[in-house]
């Protein structure tokens, strides 16, 4: 591992880049998109520190409200971790795989090489945008963190990330699973992998997955800390799932939520969220599937009140007044402060006529 980096001279291109990133970090601190939860941030910072070793003081974690899979690390040490990533990882080790990968880019100073390349291609603005506040969102969509660099740099970061995971006591065998889960979502898109030009310009998904499996083979074992991870993110699960449902990409969301539901069938929120996606898509048989998922959420127990609302809305669409009324009544009882209370109450009155 290289020694800690000194701040570059301001007159150099690297010094200029640091100055820009410092400005972006100040913006990020003030941004309404920042997730300001000291406990969760400290927890993620601790994971990053375990990975970064002596570089820990240079890594500053910022949690960002954005429903896409992404983490990034700027050359000045600003690390963004998006909520869409935190929804998708199953344990600490999987998050460590992504953070370790980003720290790998940082340690190898890939960003600087990329900056020079971007300048040569007159793509400087696009490059800077990757690290700005919720920067990559409009540029590369769900895969920003995994494809920000060229093939060689990505492979190198994967190798370093695996080493950092092992050094920190995490199971490197979790790294390829992050990738496989992400590919599952991409393949669910209409058009599949071919709909993503990123797949054409980067190592094929299967190749990268195989490489991560091979890297883990030599360093099997280690912690996943699934219980600790679950405990820390549980308070945000409903909010992050709500954001996922809103994305308006039902095929991708269904792939994600099906995986999460199968992995944790006792978590009512996953079944509820998938039911929401089916209801909003409203394709053939989707309302039946939505009902099935809402009922699974009820059976699991601890369901969000919105599961009752969902059942009511499906029955209202089907003009099944008695069933709709019963579910709406349960929703209003469970969520008296809901923003749509008045609307649901009007449905109840209408169904009683």
């Amino acid at each position: 591992m290289p020694a800690r980096f000194a701040r570059p001279a301001p007159e150099t291109d690297e010094g200029g880049l640091w100055a820009i990133m410092d400005r972006e970090e100040r913006r990020l601190r003030r941004s309404p998109f920042a997730l300001r939860d000291a406990k969760l941030r400290a927890y993620v910072q601790e994971i990053a520190c375990k990975l970064a070793g002596e570089h820990c003081p240079d890594v500053r974690v910022h949690l960002v409200r954005a429903p896409l899979f992404n983490a990034s690390m700027a050359p000045n040490g600003m690390m963004q971790v998006w909520t869409g990533l935190m929804l998708r990882v199953d344990n600490e080790a999987q998050l460590a795989a992504v953070l370790g990968h980003e720290i790998g880019h940082f340690l190898q100073r890939h960003t600087l090489e990329r900056l020079r390349d971007a300048k040569a291609r007159s793509a400087f603005g696009q490059f800077i945008g990757l690290f700005g506040v919720v920067g990559a969102l409009a540029q590369v969509g769900a895969l920003a963190g995994m494809f920000a660099f060229g093939q060689e740099h990505e492979r190198e970061a994967d190798t370093i990330g695996t080493t950092l995971m092992r050094n920190a006591g995490y199971d490197p065998n979790e790294a390829w699973k992050v990738w496989a889960n992400l590919v599952l979502e991409i393949r669910a898109r209409p058009g599949g992998e071919s709909a993503s030009p990123l797949f054409a310009t980067h190592p094929p998904a299967a190749e990268r997955q195989e490489a991560l499996i091979a890297l883990a083979r030599d360093a099997a074992g280690g912690a996943t800390n699934e219980a600790a991870w679950g405990e820390h993110v549980a308070p945000y699960r409903h909010e992050w799932l709500t954001e996922e449902v809103k994305r308006g990409v039902p095929e991708e969301s269904l792939a994600l939520l099906t995986r999460l539901k199968e992995r944790s069938p006792k978590v009512a929120a996953y079944a509820w969220a998938r039911g929401e996606v089916y209801r909003l898509r409203a394709g053939e048989d989707d309302l039946d599937r939505a009902l099935e998922d809402y009922r699974a959420a009820l059976a699991a127990g601890g369901e969000p009140p919105e599961a009752h609302r969902g059942i009511g809305l499906v029955h209202r669409t089907r003009r099944q007044a008695a069933e709709a009324k019963a579910s709406f009544a349960r929703y209003l009882e469970a969520a008296p402060q809901a923003p749509d209370f008045a609307m649901i109450k009007s449905y109840l009155e209408e169904l009683s006529l």
Binding site: P32, F33, A138, L198, K246, G248, A282, T317, D340, M343
Partner: protein, 222 residues
């Protein structure tokens, strides 16, 4: 690297800068919006037209992107509620079978396509266009500049078509300044019968003039 479609608002602003957008004055008094929707205005508005805009008429008091009133004058089943951007970008289309909750979710999806955040504050039944419609209040954190916006919207589905108006503006000054006239406009909205609308359309449209915004001074000499 894949580039996602540029937000329709940005397209509008670029069109304005390029000089291919027009700004016209919407006069005080009774105004027809599309074939069936008629509203009564207590004061004038600016209407923006540019190539590639979506199905909604875009009105503003302060100038884009400060505040925006989207008026949907009858969206048919299957029609997108935003400009078509092509490619594999996600889209949001109206279905005649949608309930108010699903319509709100559709508009929410439309407004957050660029990564902005939306929060529903209230959804309630309301009369709109003379029919049994709905009203919702919301807030948006705009991705492009982190501005915090407040919004109010009305909608109704009539004869399988969606009629709606959505207004949002920065929450501290501009939203409170114009909210009253938006609410008044919504209360005044009426839907003509379809055959009466066809007759009116065949008799021709009205005259529109350009207008200078007194606050921002934007879009003069259009």
């Amino acid at each position: 690297m894949r580039l996602l479609p540029i937000a329709p608002l940005l397209v509008l602003i670029l069109a304005l800068l390029a000089g291919c957008a027009t700004v016209t004055k919407v006069e005080t008094g009774e105004q027809a919006v599309g074939a069936r929707l008629v509203v009564s205005l207590e004061g004038p508005w600016n209407r923006i037209d540019a190539p590639g805009m979506g199905p909604a008429q875009v009105w503003t008091m302060e100038g884009l992107p400060v505040d925006q009133l989207l008026v949907y004058p009858g969206i048919k089943n299957g029609e997108l509620v935003h400009a078509s951007t092509g490619g594999s970008a996600k889209t949001f289309a109206f279905r005649s079978s949608m309930q108010p909750h699903e319509i709100v979710a559709m508009f929410e999806g439309m407004m957050t396509r660029d990564g902005s955040q939306f929060k529903l504050a209230r959804l309630e039944p309301a009369s709109f266009g003379g029919g049994k419609g709905f009203r919702f209040e919301y807030s948006v954190t705009r991705r492009s500049d982190s501005a915090l916006l407040s919004g109010v919207a009305y909608g109704v589905v009539s004869e399988g078509e969606l009629y709606a108006m959505l207004y949002h503006a920065p929450r501290l000054t501009f939203f409170p300044r114009h909210r009253g006239r938006v609410e008044q406009m919504a209360r005044s909205a009426q839907l003509r019968a379809a055959d009466a609308a066809a007759l009116k359309a065949s008799s021709g449209g009205g005259k529109r003039d350009c207008m200078r915004n007194p606050v921002t001074g934007m879009w003069t000499g259009c």
